[in-house]
């Protein structure tokens, strides 16, 4: 809750308009004005001409949003520098820019078929509605950082399930009880995943509500391309769909960490030793995330929780994986690989538990003889 309130506060501060004399309008006025003046607002020639004729026609915030899009699409040009031809060919210029970036991408080396497929998607966007959606934009920007924090906290919380507390020395007693093997192991594993799931979704809902409340929940049905940051995205989805995708990806990142934590605690049988390994693993991921190297990101970091929760690259990176003759988008492949790795970690953990059980049986048989 503290983090949600803190994020909300710092994001609301960004909507305060200031000049050299002080505050011109606070966030409430700014957002209310944007809501009112963005009804039936579309990014098209009429919109540009309307803005040119009357600077305040759509309000400060909508003006800023539209100017940002103009800047990225028209290579730094301002509204005043746009010709009629520029205004009419907004989406064509967007498509051309996307095509140019795809052709020049030396890392992915797209084939003609892949580029054609991308350009089909680019062409599917026929109109960009600029309805009010500030809350969703802020949510998209901040939920990644919150997701990482949740990931760390929940992973720490589930460590004691299999991590032994050397001070208590109850493990042998527990294991020798009637249900101390299979049923206990299954209960612990299920508890870990259930607890992680409940905590994640509950926390995300709290975060969602606290963050969105001051901004309002409107705009979930607006296209994500109304945000300059993802203007060139080839995912023709709405903010609500983007939120659901981000929520799912964040959840899968958490499942990965829970599986890894379970495996590590089962093998090491020590709470703090496992915690130290998880902590150092996280730091390694954070350092990798800071040093962008395409090959490391492409073959490793894209499937790791830290980079997975930096959702932007899924929508704008256009990374592809060519597996068995198919070109799979990064978002899809990251989900698949993350799930496979989680399953592998869980399987290793279960095998170690079974091995321990078999060792105990042999020891018991040996002592009986």
């Amino acid at each position: 809750m503290f983090v949600s309130v803190y994020h909300t506060k710092i994001n609301l501060d960004r909507y305060i308009v200031r000049n050299t004399q002080g505050i011109v309008s606070d966030w409430n006025e700014n957002l209310s004005e944007a809501k009112e003046k963005s009804r039936a607002l579309y990014l098209d020639k009429d919109c540009f001409i309307g803005m040119q004729n009357n600077e305040n026609r759509y309000g400060y915030l909508n003006n800023e949003n539209i100017s940002d899009i103009i800047s990225v699409n028209y290579e730094g040009k301002t509204l005043e520098e746009l010709s009629e031809a520029d205004m009419e060919s907004l989406l064509q210029i967007r498509s051309d820019k996307i095509n140019e970036n795809l052709m020049m991408d030396s890392k992915n080396n797209y084939t003609d078929t892949e580029i054609a497929r991308f350009m089909d998607k680019a062409g599917d966007l026929s109109v960009i509605s600029m309805g009010y959606s500030e809350g969703w934009k802020v949510l998209a920007e901040n939920m990644g950082g919150f997701g990482i924090l949740l990931n760390i906290v929940i992973t720490v919380l589930i460590l004691p399930l299999f991590g032994r507390d050397s001070g208590v020395q109850m493990e042998e007693l527990v294991r020798s009880a009637r249900f101390g093997q299979k049923r206990l192991n299954l209960s612990r594993i299920l508890s870990a995943y259930l607890a992680a799931t409940v905590l994640y979704f509950a926390s995300m809902m709290i975060y969602f509500n606290i963050l969105m409340m001051p901004f309002g929940f409107e705009g979930g049905n607006q296209p994500i391309q109304s945000n300059a940051r993802v203007f060139f995205s080839l995912y023709n989805i709405t903010y609500l769909q983007q939120f659901m995708i981000n929520l799912l990806v964040g959840y899968l990142g958490l499942i990965f960490m829970v599986s890894a934590a379970l495996m590590v605690t089962i093998i090491l049988k020590n709470l703090l030793a496992s915690a130290s390994l998880i902590a150092i693993f996280y730091i390694m991921l954070i350092v990798i995330d800071q040093l962008y190297v395409y090959e490391i990101n492409h073959w490793f970091a894209n499937f790791m929780p830290v980079h997975m929760t930096e959702f932007w690259h899924f929508y704008t990176g256009n990374e592809l994986y060519r597996i068995w003759g198919r070109s799979i988008p990064c978002l899809n492949w990251s989900i698949i690989v993350s799930l496979i790795l989680s399953a592998i970690f869980l399987a290793i953990g279960i095998l170690v538990l079974l091995r321990d059980k078999i060792c105990r049986i042999y020891l018991k048989k040996g002592s009986d003889v």
Binding site: S166, N270, L272, A273, A279, I280, I283, M284, I296
Partner: protein, 400 residues
Amino acid sequence: MKRQIYMEYRKMWNKITGVAVLAMCAVVILHLFIYLNLQYRAIDSEGQIVEGLASYRALREASEEIKGTMDGTYIRELVDKYNNSFDKSYLKEHRGFLGTGGMTKFMVPNYFINYAYYGAYMSNGNDKIGLEYDFLDSEDEFYKTYKETVKEHLAEVNPYTEEQMNILGKKVDKLNIPYQTGYYQGLANLRAWFVLDYGLIFVVLAFALSGIFAKDYTGGITELTLSSKYGRKNNFNVRWIAGNMFIISIYFIFIGVQLIVNGIIATLDGWNLPAQMFWFECLHNITVGEGILILFGGGLLGAIVIGNIVMLTSIKMKNRKVAVILSAIVVFWILKSKNVYGFSKMFNPANFISDSLLTGYCFVGNMALPYFVIVIIFTVFYVALLWIGIKMSYRKYYID
């Protein structure tokens, strides 16, 4: 007492420490081998582009041509060599080469010369390696320009007064020119990765030292410890000394891994080049090797401060797990706030490894104290404060 210290020190090498140290070493080695392999390529002496780990040896071999003392003759020959080199034409065609992990033998001398022009705005890149400068016509003119640039750089990035700049100006005038140049890429990698991975030591200490004064840990404080003849006074000193010895051990393991792996990949050649080849605005007449040793010293002091903070949380919380969590939060906060602007960043132990140790000064009256001296003073102050905190808590330590 020596035996006691040894036993307490020995107790700290448990499963948790073992796992944490192994993980730290694994991460350091992986980082080095993977990044130094993927990110870098070099132009060798035959004009071929060598990629990966082999690029460092190729660069070292190619750098034999540009080794020497940067006097007037050398500079004139360098200008000639560079203008007629394959490297120059390659860089002209591949504009992003040097800024994306590319390396050429001309990097070291040419960047040094370009610093004399760009000063505080110097960076890596193809546009900062040319040699078309009038001040290269004579050795005196070049070094005069260089010294003026150093003075301007120091004045621009630091809030020194005019009087303080005069004092520093005298140090600039005493720099031992002309400088030697050569290859030092292995040392550059060592410094870069030492700084990047330094935070790992803090994490290891947070886990390994959290139980030193905990009562819920068999290696921590027990009734037996407190009720024995020397339990209250002697045992406290013994644990504190053993804790600090442990910190030094962990640090040396970290440094050792860095030295060995960087030495294997890119060698540690260039140890005796002047520090100014690497830290352009450094006013100490020391070598690159000595500069790196000073950074290592600063790192050790930072680790000792963090280790003592962990020991203080251990004795305050008396619970190992709570001490770990609190120490982890403190470590996180220290690492997160190391990049704040202003004078306050000097107080942060995570900055005890910054290049400011060699380029920064603090004035006490008319005396310019190098930052590495300030770091020693800070460390003594922090550790004394933490030691007093730990000792006061130990006097009142109760199991229940």
